[in-house]
Amino acid sequence: MQVAGSVAADRLHLSSFAHAYLGLGAALVAVLFYLALAAQVTQSSYDITRLQDQQRQLIAEQDQLRYQEVTLHAPAQVQHSAAQSGMQRTAPVAYVPAQPVAIDLGAPAGASGTDATPLWARYLAALFNKVGGTRDVMAAGK
């Protein structure tokens, strides 16, 4: 039995040296391919490491900025900044103390007030109402 390679070599009339060269060439290509792949992997790992380092630094910077932002709003910092810019705390507003007023809600309401409208004016109003119709003098509330 002959292997396919030998058949091809026979067809191409290649010598045994040619077989060896072909084998070496294939091996060389394989080695070069492996080396290129290894170089690529190494380069990628360098890139990943560099990016990871960069990411760590950016996170650290973000932390710093967040801390600065929070600290700027801290009551102690606000007071310190206010004092530095010459601001002063105002004196508390003085309120007029309320005096308790005694209102007796149970007391009788008393007699209702008398209507002092003259008699002629009442008749005149009744006449106008009859002619023009009555109207609400207040808008309806909702």
């Binding site: 650290a60 710093q64 600290t71 009551p75 007071q79 507003v93 003085a94 309320a98 308790p100």
Partner: protein
């Protein structure tokens, strides 16, 4: 025969040799299997832990009280630093980090593999060090908790409440300890394989577990009020020449803590250089005798029981004989016929004891229980201390009598404030708590039904009596402008016992709420061992009305403005 023997001998020798090899193989492959597998794994298997981010802490207005920041540690590999450059490396490290140059030189000359130069310094220094490109020097980044600044350079905001986190991520004291599990989260990991050149084998088995970050806490605390409280407390304690002081403010309807201040305090950012005695939180971990503040509880119980009313008249000759002891009023004076509003106004012990006797021991004990003074408050902060009262039938007459006016009973500030808050909350006990939400989960304490301790009518009567204390009694020094007729309060002063004997040192306190009818906050101030100017001649100058009440007033005044509170 000779040939057979030779063959046999040869076989035996071969069997012995093979047996030796097999035995050795069995030894390595069976006996040492676990150890060798572990060693092999360690060579090519890599497990990188991915730390979980610790949860941050917010106040009620979502102001961050604690921030995670990145800090750096510098290390050196002395065996990688050539003798010729040691001086340059030591000088660089010394100039940037401020470490002792001679010490660094000694480390470099040791030839060791690894040594830390300085731990946990700022990014600015790390950047400077990185720029120097010193051989054999490396940087390691770590996460650190940073707390907001407090009133003084040596303190951070709410340090005794929040606690701190050690370098290995363990919460210590306060909320950091109590909520350690929720804040810390669960770390993740990356598991991969590496070749001889320490490169990751991309096609190898690779396991990745993301970390679960810790939950954030949202507190009922108000950072602005907390700051005002710390400021007023610091001034008040120094003004009274006191040993220490504390302030606790509560939302009356929910029981949420609004401010929790201790003075003196410490800087949680610098916990490793702090005197450990300052770590103690005097709000929940310190027991004291509340003194006359307890009369609010005693009289409320007696009114609720129907034993007395605010206008019930009693005779107060200035003392009462109970269980073989003669117990006197603070002023040792005969007050004649007085009502219970007058008793509270002038903080008379005889009146409190008579109220307790009128309601009876059993009722008195059950109200102490109802007001939460016989068990821990359960506040969600690490380290609460409380001392249980003896059983009801084991307390002597004298014990009941002194308990009625707040001596001989040890409570912490959280217990006492929660008890008085029952009056402000219409007779209901609101469980005190600091955390409102853990992540997106509501604190179960908030959802707990509030128990009705006394009726709303009793609470209203007691509120009126406490208003009278401010208007006509010992609470006059707490009057807030605009709320003179609309605030309720009670002073308390209790002598401190040492070795079974009461001394002239006191715990001075003031508790109150504002506005009286619809309170927005309840606050207690305790000043320990005040030595007010002139108190060497008259010890009553250390009383709560001169030491604690003015602190209460200053904080309340600031809160009225900050929270825009108007009188009822």
């Amino acid at each position: 025969m000779g040939a057979r023997l030779r063959i046999l001998a040869l076989l035996v020798v071969a069997a012995l040799l093979a047996g030796t090899v097999w035995a050795r193989l069995a030894y390595w492959q069976v006996m040492r299997h676990v150890q060798l597998s572990a060693s092999a794994q360690a060579q090519y298997h890599e497990l990188v832990q991915l730390p979980a981010l610790r949860g941050v802490i917010f106040d009620r207005n979502m102001t961050q009280l604690v921030v995670n920041t990145t800090v750096y540690s510098a290390f050196v590999s002395p065996d990688q630093v050539a003798p010729g450059v040691r001086d340059t490396v030591a000088s660089g490290l010394s100039s940037v980090l401020g470490v002792d140059k001679a010490g660094v030189m000694k480390t470099l000359e040791s030839g060791a593999k690894f040594a830390y130069v300085l731990r946990r310094f700022s990014k600015a220094k790390a950047d400077q060090l990185r720029a120097l490109k010193l051989p054999g020097v490396g940087l390691e980044d770590e996460s650190q908790r940073s707390y907001l600044p407090g009133i003084a350079a040596g303190s951070s905001l709410a340090a005794n409440l929040l606690g701190f986190v050690t370098y290995d991520g363990q919460g210590q004291r306060g909320l950091e300890q109590y909520y350690q599990a929720q804040l810390a989260g669960t770390p993740g990991y990356i598991s991969s394989y590496r070749d001889l050149a320490n490169r990751e084998i991309v096609l190898g088995s690779h396991t990745h577990q993301d970390p679960v970050n810790g939950s954030d806490l949202v507190l009922s605390l108000d950072a602005n009020v907390q700051y005002q409280a710390e400021q007023a407390l610091s001034y008040g304690v120094r003004n009274a020449n006191a040993e220490s002081g504390s302030v606790l403010i509560m939302d009356p309807t929910t029981g949420g803590i609004v401010a929790w201040a201790d003075y003196p305090s410490y800087d949680a950012n610098n916990f490793n250089h702090t005197d450990p005695s300052l770590f103690q939180d005097n709000v929940s971990s310190y027991l004291y005798e509340p003194g006359s503040v307890m009369k609010v509880v005693t009289l409320s119980g007696a009114i609720n029981q129907g034993a007395i009313t605010p206008s019930t008249v009693i005779n107060d000759p200035g003392y009462l004989n109970v269980g073989g002891y003669r117990i006197a009023d603070w002023d040792h004076r005969n007050h004649g016929n007085i009502d219970y509003t007058y008793v509270l106004d002038h903080s008379l012990n005889v009146g409190a004891m008579k109220a307790m006797q009128a309601e009876g021991h059993a009722a008195c004990y059950s109200y102490l229980k109802g007001f939460g003074l016989t068990q821990p408050s359960g506040v969600d902060v690490a380290g609460e201390t409380s001392v249980p009262l003896p059983a009801q039938d084991q307390m002597s007459d004298a014990q009941y009598a002194t308990t009625a006016f707040g001596q001989g009973i040890g409570v912490n500030m959280v217990q006492m404030l929660a008890a008085v808050n029952v009056i402000a909350n219409g007779g209901r006990y609101a469980p005190p708590h600091v955390v409102e939400r853990v992540g997106s989960t509501i604190n179960p304490l908030l959802l707990k039904p509030q128990r009705q301790v006394i009726t709303a009518a009793t609470a209203q009567q007691m509120t009126a009596m406490m208003e009278d204390v401010v208007q006509h009694g010992s609470g006059w020094t707490s009057r807030v402008k605009g709320f003179e007729l609309d605030q309720a309060g009670k002073t308390g002063t209790a002598q401190i016992p040492v070795n079974g004997q009461y001394t002239l040192d006191v715990w001075a306190s003031y508790v109150g709420f504002l506005p009286a009818i619809h309170p927005k906050f309840t606050m207690i101030v305790v000043v320990r061992k005040p030595h007010y100017a002139g108190s060497q001649y008259d010890w009553t100058l250390n009383d709560g009305y001169l030491t604690a009440a003015p602190i209460w007033k200053n904080i309340a005044q600031a809160m009225v403005v900050d929270w825009r509170i108007t009188p009822d």
